[in-house]
Structure formats: structure tokens, C-alpha cells
Amino acid sequence: MQIHSSLSADGREVTIAIEGRFDHTVQHDFRNAYRYQDGWPERYRIILTRADYMDSSALGMLLLLRDHAQTGNADVVIVEPSEQIMKILETAHFNQLFTIIRAT
């Protein structure tokens, strides 16, 4: 599995971790990772520490998640994108749409 998702014990936060290529091949799994969580979390954390590539359909998936999160008034946070992925996010100016926590 390239995508792991979990719900925090208090039900407030959904964590979705992506490994390897974040592209159209994981579209289905990515959507399932946030769609079928019970209740309305307050935050979605997308962990990209171990993702090494991202294409434009992945940007599209993030927009879908943002749409989904907005209906529940939740935040989407992108965590530790690699330098290469950060470049893609910056080119698309996605920092205007998402909070991005960079690797230290």
C-alpha cells in the first residue's frame, strides 16, 4: 500500500501518509483515505515525508480534498514535502490554498 490513513483517538484529525509516487495511480486510494472516515474531523494532515514525486493529478486530488474539507470547515495541512515536491507546490502557488509545514 502506498497510502496509509488513520484517525486520531479523539477523532479530530485524519492523517494520510503517501509513499513513493503521488500520481494518478493512487487516485482511488487517496479518495477513500478521507471519504470514509466517521464523523467530521477538524484537520487533515497529508504526510509527504516519504513521497518522492508528484504530478498535476495529485494537485487535483489535493483540491478535491480541500473541497471535501471545506464542507466540514476543516483545515488541510501538507507536511514535510521533499524539495522536489515543494518546488511543484510552489510553482502552482498552492501555498495560497494550503498550510505547508516544511521539513526542518
Binding site: 498535476s56 487535483g60 478535491l64 473541497d67 510553482t91 502552482a92 498552492f94
Partner: protein, 594 residues
């Protein structure tokens, strides 16, 4: 006794079939064996199992019988006269082709090599004689299971093939429509070099070019999310807005705002258009650029050296319905013979057979190596095809090189082209249109395309369109920039001043609370053609028009080019040009007549 037999039920002679038992037939079994006792043993069992049975006494008869009658399962001896079981199996398998017919070797050979060869030549199983009936039954069941599975796959393949062909036909039709609507109307392609390598029949990358009424070239390179048909659907509305608004003379900002709004309302949330936009006027040595989500735009000098990079400055189009406060068009100064390079990220992400990406660093190295004057476009194209080899692109790849050559923009000319059209209607009839803009409306609305559209409604402007646009545009720019905003055109004459002039213009326009411009158009049809009176009045202080006009006339004589309120250009296009009062009021007459 004939060597060829057919039996089901009680054994009979040559060519006979043993009558089918009461149970449903399991199909036809072909038994190839030179020994009568072996044949009889198999026959008894197969008939009981519900098979119709055919016989052959050697390999060659077996092959010809199979060719003539066909079979659902074959039982094959190895050692036979004329043709052995190996050769017969090879031929039967070749005859069967895609249709799977299980061949089970029944042999008393126990040599492991001989048995292994049974499978090598195409056999599916082997059974050592003597065998137990239960084992034979089990082997038959297993063979049938594999055969049925194969048949099912074959059937599904056929269905898939039909479906695939159908889809391909539909795609070809849609592709044709797309190319007619999106690609065909592109202009200036004799100047622009392009590399387009779509990943699917439909290109998710989009290249549009069109000319503004004033002759400048508008270029849009876009990259829709994903690729294929789903990515290409957005190309139709984008091309439509781009062409319609360009031909009406709308600014880059207005066109981008409209495309963005249209795509944001039309496309699903996961789809957007990363794009760069360029308005190029080589005569003015300037380019207006914008980029949202695209790789850097590169400006290359005529010696091949990289002069400037323009990084993405905004979100891609189609995400939010409004482009927001950060939206801004940048102005570049370009020299004649500069080349502007646009590329989609498919180029950077292109992979070679080993899965390695072309990448930014390879591109940078190429740019570096081209500084001795080699063609960057040619180098990148060659390097890319050498890199990818046979591997097809995962994403659409586009590379565009736009040379800043004078032929790229068409200079508007008065009275050129199709000549004068007869205007019907009695002399003395008038048509009048006017608009007056106050305060912040001056920053929000560009009245030039609106006025031009009104004129177009009235009369097919034909070849006069470009010239009229230029006249209206120059007059309005003077009224707004020098009149209302109080900008000094002298600033523009220096290299650095050019961009500071436009940023100053943006600032003052954004802060504008008062001031006004009024435009009046009066059209009077004449005997041949007609006459248009254009009158503009602004709230500014005016300017010493008498001395400026005199200076402009001499600069035109000395061929010093168009500077200072575009007065030489206006005089060359219009029948007459008069400033009134303090200079805040101007009247120009444009004639259709030659």
C-alpha cells in the same frame, strides 16, 4: 478396418461415430494412437464420460482429421509410424491458433526427457499408461477447466476489441473536431517553432495563438490536469474565449480573468489549467507575460545566452472563480531576435526507458551549453528524443519557441486590404455612440473593445479594424495616462523607465477616485465608404499640444519612430487630428474612403 474411426457408444467401423449417450455431450475428443487396444480402452471411457470420439492411427491422420473435423480435446500417443505425437501436437496447436485445445499425451514412456518434451512441443499434460480411470477422469476435468477459462478470455478479448475499436473511432471524430476548433485557427505558425508530443490521442497541453486588432500576437500555452480526452475537454471553451476576446482587442488581464472564471465554473474541482500567456509586440520591443503553475518562461538572446527567467507568479486557472488581488501581468523588454521559450512540465518529467526523469538539471545544462549561439530549441528537441528513446511520454510534452522578429506583429495600415465598401443609406444620416467613465470605472473597464464592438455591429470593419483599434487605443491611452493619471510620456523613452512607467500607471489607476474620460463616436456614411468622427475629452489639465504636434511632425520626417503620445502614428492613420482647448480634448476623423 479403416484406420480412421468415429465412435460414441458401441464401436463401429471407419468414419463412424459412436452414438451420443443420454447425458449431454462434452464435445468431441480426438484419439491419436497406432494401437487398437489403446484406442478401445480410451473409447470406452470417453464415451461413458459423454464424449463423441474420433480416431486416427498416426500423427499425420490425426492432424488432417483435426483440420477437417476439429476437436475439443486431443489424446496423443508419442511413438507412432509416419508422424510421431510430438510433431502432430506441434501442428495441431498451430492449426488451433488462438483457440485453446488441450492435448494430453498418453504414453508408456517413462523417460523423463521424453515426458518433458511432451510439454515443450505444446502438450498440456501427460498420463503414463497403464493409468487408472479415476486419474484419467481427473486429468480431463483439469484440462477442460483450463480450456473453458481460455475460451472465456478469448470471448472477453473479442468484446474488448470491439469496444476498443468503437472508442477509437469516436476519439478520431472528436479529435478532428478539436483540431478544427482549437489548433487550426492558430496564426503565425511560420514563425513559431513547436514540439508537441501528446501522451494520448488527445493532448492535455494546449497551444493557442491569435492576433489582436492592433497586430500584436497573443500566445497561450496551457496544461490541463491529467491527459487524454478528459484533459482536453476544457480546451474548447478556453480557445473560444481566447480567440473571441483577442480579436476584440481585450487585454491579457481581461482574457485571463474570463478564461479563469469560465473554467472554474465548468471544470470539476480536481481539474485546472496551468498556463502562461504572452502578448508580444516586437515593434514596441515589449512583451506582457503571465504564468500560473507553469515551468519558468525563458528569454534567450540572439547569441543563445539565457537573458531572463519568468517563474510562475500565480495559481493555475480554473481553481477559484476570481483571480484575486495578487493577479498581475508582468512587462518584459525584449530585443529584436530574442527568443521566448515556453514549456510544459511534461518535458521536465519525461522519462527514459530506465525510468529516470529528464529533469531541470538536464535542461539547465543544455541552456548553459547553448550560450555560444546554438539553437536552444533544436538542442532540447534532439536531446529529448535521444533521452526518451522508444519510451512513450507519460504526460503531454510541449516546447514552443517564439522569435521576437518584426514579421510577428502586423503593423496596421489605413485603407489597406479589401478596399472600400459601399455603405447604403442616404447622406446626412448619422449614428452616434458615446460612453463616459468616472473614477474607479476607468481602472475597471476598457472602453476600446466595447467601442470597437459597437462599430462592428454597425458596419463590417474588415481591414479597417486594426487601424481603428489603434486609433481608439492611442487616443484613449493618451486621455487616461497623460490626461487623467498625469503620467509623463518622457519616462518611457529610457530603457529602465519603460517598466517603471507601467508600474506607476497600475498604482495610480488602483488609487483613482476621481477623473473622467468621455468618448463620442459619430459615423456618417458617404457616397463611397463613410467617415467616423472620434472625440475624446478627459478631466486632465491638457498639454502644450501645438509644440508637441510640431515636434511629432518633424520626428516623423526624421524617421525617429513613434514616441510621445503616438501622434505621428495617429496622423498617419487619420484623415485629420485636432487638439482643442488646453489639449484635454481631441477630435480625429477616420475615413473609409480612399
Amino acid at each position: 478396418m479403416s484406420s480412421v474411426g468415429r465412435t460414441a457408444g458401441p464401436a463401429v467401423g471407419a468414419g463412424a461415430t459412436s452414438g451420443a449417450p443420454a447425458t449431454a455431450s462434452r464435445g468431441r475428443a480426438l484419439v491419436v494412437d497406432d494401437r487398437a487396444s489403446n484406442r478401445a480402452l480410451l473409447e470406452a471411457l470417453l464415451v461413458k464420460e459423454g464424449f463423441e470420439v474420433l480416431f486416427a492411427v498416426d500423427g499425420r491422420q490425426g492432424v488432417s482429421l483435426f483440420e477437417r473435423e476439429g476437436a475439443d480435446i486431443v489424446f496423443m500417443d508419442v511413438m507412432m509410424p509416419v508422424m510421431d505425437g510430438y510433431e502432430a501436437t506441434r501442428r495441431i496447436k498451430a492449426l488451433a491458433g488462438d483457440c485453446f485445445v488441450p492435448v494430453i499425451f498418453v504414453t508408456s514412456l517413462s523417460d523423463t526427457h521424453a515426458l518433458a518434451r511432451c510439454i515443450e512441443v505444446g502438450g498440456d499434460d501427460f498420463l503414463n499408461a497403464p493409468y487408472e480411470q479415476t486419474i484419467l477422469r481427473a486429468r480431463i476435468l483439469a484440462a477442460e477447466r483450463v480450456r473453458d477459462l481460455n475460451r472465456k478470455i478469448q470471448e472477453q478479448n473479442r468484446e474488448l476489441n470491439t469496444l476498443h475499436n468503437h472508442m477509437q473511432r469516436e476519439q478520431e471524430i472528436a479529435e478532428r473536431i478539436f483540431s478544427e476548433a482549437v489548433t487550426q485557427p492558430n496564426v503565425a505558425l511560420n514563425h513559431i517553432r513547436t514540439l508537441l508530443r501528446p501522451a494520448a490521442t488527445f493532448n492535455g497541453d494546449l497551444l493557442l495563438t491569435a492576433r489582436r486588432p492592433s497586430g500584436e500576437l497573443n500566445v497561450l500555452l496551457g496544461d490541463f490536469t491529467g491527459h487524454g480526452l478528459a484533459a482536453a475537454v476544457g480546451a474548447l471553451p478556453t480557445a473560444e474565449v481566447f480567440r473571441a476576446m483577442t480579436s476584440k482587442g481585450f487585454s491579457a488581464a481581461d482574457i485571463l480573468r474570463e478564461i479563469n472564471y469560465k473554467l472554474a465554473t465548468l471544470l470539476p474541482p480536481s481539474m485546472f489549467l496551468a498556463a502562461c500567456f504572452l502578448t508580444l509586440d516586437p515593434a514596441q520591443r515589449s512583451a506582457a507575460v503571465w504564468s500560473g503553475g507553469m515551468p519558468e518562461i525563458l528569454v534567450i538572446g540572439d547569441d543563445g545566452a539565457l537573458k531572463r527567467r519568468v517563474p510562475s507568479m500565480h495559481l493555475p486557472l480554473g481553481i477559484n472563480t476570481s483571480l484575486g488581488d495578487t493577479f498581475k501581468i508582468e512587462r518584459l523588454e525584449v530585443e529584436a531576435d530574442d527568443r521566448i521559450l515556453l514549456l510544459s512540465d511534461g518535458l521536465l518529467d519525461a522519462r527514459n526507458p530506465a525510468g529516470e526523469m529528464f529533469g531541470r538539471s538536464r535542461l539547465e545544462a543544455l541552456l548553459e551549453s547553448c550560450s555560444n549561439g546554438a539553437s536552444v530549441f533544436g538542442r532540447i528537441t534532439r536531446e529529448l528524443s535521444g533521452f526518451c528513446q522508444w519510451r512513450l511520454p507519460d504526460d503531454d510534452i510541449t516546447l514552443v519557441e517564439i522569435p521576437c522578429v518584426p514579421g510577428l506583429a502586423e503593423v496596421p495600415q489605413a485603407g489597406a486590404g479589401r478596399g472600400v465598401e459601399q455603405v447604403t443609406g442616404a447622406a446626412g444620416c448619422l449614428w452616434r455612440w458615446s460612453i463616459e467613465l468616472h473614477g474607479h470605472w476607468l481602472g475597471d473597464v476598457d472602453p476600446v473593445p466595447v467601442a470597437l464592438a459597437q462599430l462592428q455591429e454597425l458596419h463590417d470593419l474588415g481591414s479597417h479594424r486594426q487601424a481603428l483599434y489603434t486609433v481608439l487605443f492611442e487616443l484613449y491611452s493618451n486621455a487616461l495616462e497623460h490626461g487623467v493619471l498625469g503620467l509623463d510620456s518622457e519616462i518611457k523613452s529610457s530603457e529602465e523607465g519603460f517598466s517603471s512607467y507601467y508600474s506607476e500607471r497600475e498604482e495610480r489607476l488602483a488609487a483613482l477616485a476621481e477623473g473622467s474620460v468621455r468618448i463620442d463616436l459619430v459615423y456618417q456614411p458617404g457616397e463611397r465608404g463613410g467617415s467616423l468622427l472620434i472625440r475624446l475629452e478627459d478631466s486632465g489639465e491638457g498639454f502644450p499640444h501645438e509644440s508637441v504636434c510640431a515636434g511629432a511632425a518633424s520626428s516623423l520626417r526624421d524617421n525617429k519612430g513613434f514616441s510621445g503620445r503616438g501622434i505621428p502614428l495617429l496622423t498617419s492613420l487619420c484623415e485629420s487630428l485636432h487638439f482643442e482647448g488646453a489639449g484635454n480634448c481631441v477630435e480625429a476623423v477616420y475615413n473609409w474612403d480612399v
